[in-house]
Amino acid sequence: MVTANLRAGDLSRITDMAEVKGRSLWADARKRFMLNKAAVASLFVLIFITLFSFAGESIAPWTNEEIDFNVIGSADTKGMPSIASGHYFGTDDLGRDLFARSAQGTRISLMVGFVGTFIAVLVGTVYGAVSGYVGGRTDAIMMRIVDILSAIPYMFVLILLLVMFGRSMFMIFVGIGLLSWLGMARIVRGQTLSLKHKEYIEAARASGVSSWKIILRHILPNLLGVVAVYTTLLIPDMIMAESFISFLGLGVQEPLTSLGALISEGSKSIVQGSLWQLYFPLAFFTVTLYAFYFVGDGLRDALDPKDR
């Protein structure tokens, strides 16, 4: 009798209880990521570099196009970094302010990285998920297309595009975007294949959820972890590819510049002894790449703790 009363009391209290907040896998991953000091520090470095690339030109006393006629022709002696002259990072041989130029170059390199990766994520994820989920002959044909495209030498195509259609930012985006999604499509397809036979996908199919909804609701959210990790590792690859092209002298055109172009110019100035022209762009380049790799590693550890 007493227990029955107690039970009834308990039950009414249970139904009155406030809803418990769930702890999603994303929240778990965020917590693990926050505990990874190298990754969090790298994330802050990246934020700082991004801010610098956008705001750097407005805090510099010189714009990237102005030429300091006092320095021109004798950059190695007068153009060195100094706070007094307003050239915090020094100037190049033409007397242009390297601080403003570094900000501009970083911005363009980041942009190439992000746009290329954005195309890769968008096209690669959808392409891979559809190919893997539909399977069978469709899958075979879609993946053979990827094989054929990736058999074409990437740099060769990019250089040909730039030579044939002229050097422009747009052509770089097209060239990088055209081929960057191949790896993503492969990875996503592989993941989809393993997800496809999970019981919760079967449960959704059994209760009549349409294929598109299954891809959107069940496959993609479970792919996001892998995609996020691959994305952070793809951005530095894109930056690297663009820098390589620019280093060869085929990248963005003056007055635009990128980190690769600045490093290329800087390397020519070694003989004149104006080493700052090399060091500052190179520092931004390496620090950015390192930071992306650290963040990528951190994300991988956070999203897949079993995979360490």
Partner: protein, 332 residues
């Protein structure tokens, strides 16, 4: 007499297997997973299906709801043959037949909250319901299966195996099905939790008038919950009978061997009972034995067993064996 809820006639499922490295024009080999299965199921009744791994139990479940291509007839309420329906036409029947899966955690999407997992069939079949209505239905269902409704925002990994299976049951029942297919719903659970889930299923079945197809390889579980039991071997029915009759007077040598392998929780009786050991492994379903598929492991097989496929004979208690008299159920 009203038509049974489900009338399955000559259900066959074959898979075409291609080995790696086969040329595109090589003919794929055929694997007959189900080879002419017949049974009926009445509303509110439970049919237990038992058999070894690889005998076609799960394929049978999946064939009924068009998850794998099958031939034959699956007649729903004496009217519609489910196997002839297009995917679009099938949609209406998917809310009538729901499924509970083996691995409780794997059958729940880890990125979705429990509320949205249970609500998914409801949103699919009743898109007209408002958010609040859906939430209310979900909470009612959670309470019905013994979960706290305030846990609606939690995620599957925050629940135990038994609770996850309750979530799976709630998801299956929320659209008010007439038939629940349970594919080894308790095999992955601890014994104490198994009892809870079985009792919950039995209780829900009684209250909601559900028909159930209960697949398991644990005979004691099947005995507890089923009205009738079907024994499968290599995609063929060996014996089909009322649960009591089957467990008391098994007629088929395969059923007898299965029953003798069930451990008895009493050491004296366990030592005293006679085991009928089964020799060898299940033959490859790619190359099943001729005649009776069980003959290679049967202790009482004869020459005739290799030549003729035994028909499933008998009224009420059906047996497919040349050595068993279908009328008296005695071995001859």
């Amino acid at each position: 007499m009203t038509a049974p809820l489900l009338d399955v006639r000559d259900l066959r499922v074959s898979f075409h297997i291609r080995r790696d490295g086969d040329m595109p024009w090589t003919k794929p080999r055929e694997l007959k997973a189900l080879n002419g299965v017949n049974f009926t199921l009445n509303a509110g009744e439970t049919l237990g299906i038992v058999g070894e791994s690889g005998c076609g139990k799960s394929t049978l479940a999946r064939a009924l709801i068009q998850m794998v291509p099958a031939t034959g007839k699956v007649i729903w309420q004496g009217q519609t043959d489910l196997l002839t329906l297009s995917p679009h036409q099938m949609l209406a029947y998917r809310s009538q037949v729901q499924m509970v899966f083996q691995d409780p955690l794997a059958s729940l999407n880890p990125r979705m909250s429990v509320g949205s997992i249970i609500a998914e069939p409801l949103r699919t079949h009743h898109p007209e319901l408002s958010q609040a209505q859906v939430k209310q239905r979900v909470q009612e269902m959670m309470e019905r299966v013994g979960l706290l409704p305030n846990q609606i925002n939690r995620y599957p990994h925050e629940f135990s195996g038994g609770q996850c299976q309750r979530i799976g049951i709630a998801r299956a029942l929320i659209v008010g099905p007439k038939l629940l297919i349970c594919d080894e719903p308790v095999s992955a659970l601890d014994v104490s939790i198994q009892a809870q889930v079985i009792n919950l299923l039995a209780e829900l079945q009684r209250d909601l008038g559900l028909a159930m197809i209960f697949i398991a390889h644990d005979l004691s579980v099947v005995k507890h919950i089923s009205d009738r039991v079907m024994v499968l071997y290599l995609g063929r029915t060996m014996e089909l009978a009322e649960s009591q009759a089957l467990f008391a007077h098994a007629a088929h040598p395969y059923t007898k061997a299965l029953l003798s392998a069930v451990p008895i929780p009493d050491p004296v009786k366990e030592r005293a009972k006679t085991m009928i050991p089964l020799e060898g492994d299940l033959p490859s379903p790619m190359a099943p034995p001729s005649g009776c598929v069980f003959r290679t492991r049967c202790p009482i097989s004869q020459d005739r067993c290799a030549r003729e496929v035994p028909a499933l004979l008998g009224i009420g208690h059906e047996v497919a064996c040349h050595r068993v008299n279908a009328a008296t159920l005695e071995t001859v």
